[in-house]
């Protein structure tokens, strides 16, 4: 059997397994190993079993020999949602990255946002994550985020993800603010039919985000491809988030709004971008979509 052709899925792995698969062998050193801290008492107060890592794995590792600080949210535990301990681990790792003057922070985001069971702590923790990410960026340290898990990046984690210097997405990944189910519940099925999976992905999915420059890279759901994409970013130069950069971002946002606001399906925009046979985009591989965007 040709090993190279067999996909090694990122999506199907647990957070810890994703880290171990992507980084150099034997290089991962987990910080706050299971049972080094107590399981969340906020969850036990609600009769919910916690997890030893409260749904996020943090530590240091190497990628092609380059030392990095790395975090991976566990989408299968409480929807990857941010509670007090979970949030503190992320904030701690970001501050440690600055202290250690790391080469890069790698972040596998897989989260619906605030953990409702600890709503206030979760919201404040996400604000602290946002402050810390900006500090990391302004210390000249790149934040390379991968979104390719079961939960994608929604809510406060959707906002935080966009504070990264680079976002790498797979087709399976989703990136947005409000979940389609919430929009449907409040605004009705016409506003967003959350059961129309194809539509959900045309609005929030990796291919759409890549085509609209909301994220910088689109790759297959494959460990080797994801690792390569991260390695490429490790060498890239990242500028500061200064006035000049923010003015540029402002311009991009205003331009995007003028051009596309009012559309409600990615397909409409891809068509107007001049992509031929835009309805075929969902069928294409990540590599093919990248070629479509280039040409």
């Amino acid at each position: 059997m040709d090993q190279v052709m067999i996909k090694n899925s990122f999506y199907e792995k647990t957070a810890r397994a994703r880290i171990l698969a992507v980084v150099d062998e034997h290089s991962f050193n987990e910080i706050l190993k299971p049972a080094e801290i107590e399981v969340s008492l906020h969850l036990s107060a609600l009769d919910i079993p916690g997890s030893f890592d409260d749904g996020v794995i943090i530590g240091t590792a190497r990628l092609n020999g380059t030392p990095v600080h790395i975090m991976a949210q566990e989408g299968q535990f409480m929807g990857g949602a941010v509670g007090e301990i979970h949030g503190a681990k992320i904030v701690g790792l970001l501050h440690k990255a600055i202290q250690d003057q790391t080469q890069a922070v790698v972040f596998f985001v897989d989260s619906g946002g605030v953990r409702l069971h600890e709503a206030n702590a979760g919201l404040i923790a996400i604000s602290e994550i946002m402050r810390a990410m900006l500090q990391v960026r302004n210390a000249g340290i790149p934040i390379i985020t991968v979104i390719g898990g079961t939960c994608g990046a929604f809510g406060g984690m959707g906002i935080s993800a966009c504070l990264s210097s680079t976002i790498i997405m797979t087709e399976e990944g989703r990136l947005a603010l409000s979940g389609p189910e919430v929009i449907e519940t409040v605004k009705g099925v016409e506003e967003f039919d959350s059961k129309d999976r194809a539509l959900v992905w045309r609005v929030t999915g990796g291919k759409h985000r890549y085509l609209l420059n909301h994220v910088q890279a689109l790759v297959e759901d494959d460990i080797a491809d994801i690792r390569d994409a991260i390695l490429t970013q490790l060498d890239a130069k990242v500028g500061p988030l200064d006035l000049e950069q923010l003015l540029k971002q402002q311009q991009q946002l205003e331009h995007q709004y003028q051009r596309w606001f009012g559309k409600n399906d990615g397909l409409q925009i891809w068509h107007e971008m001049g992509i031929s046979q835009p309805e075929k985009i969902p069928m294409l591989s990540a590599h093919e979509v990248v070629l479509v965007k280039q040409g």
């Binding site: 647990t14 299971p34 919910i48 079993p49 299968q76």
Partner: protein, 102 residues
């Protein structure tokens, strides 16, 4: 939610190893943390589970596990979100394989 504690007789495992963890606390799933403890003749298993009223099922599954594998001297900590006995067995076996470095 229930917290259960079991102390089981088993054949001893002599491996000197750092703690290992496997599984995930998702619906129908569980995570298992295995570490060494200082009672070489006993296997200790602590279970935190979302399901209530299945102590006898846990007892039976864990007894059988401790008979099948040499696990005295080890402590197992389980966080369970409603896994079936089959899945529990799978994770326990995975955990012990990882611990032995197999």
């Amino acid at each position: 939610m229930e917290k259960l504690k079991f102390e089981l007789q088993s054949a001893p495992l002599s491996a000197q190893q750092a703690a290992v963890i496997c599984g995930v606390v998702g619906s129908g799933n569980l995570e298992v943390l295995v570490s060494q403890h200082d009672q070489a003749d006993i296997c200790q298993i602590e279970v935190t589970t979302s399901a209530v009223g299945f102590q006898h099922v846990w007892q039976s599954v864990l007894n059988e596990f401790a008979q099948r594998h040499a696990v005295a001297g080890l402590k197992f900590q389980l966080n369970d979100m409603g896994a079936t006995p089959a899945v529990v067995n799978l994770r326990l076996s995975q955990a012990i394989s990882m611990f032995k470095g197999v």
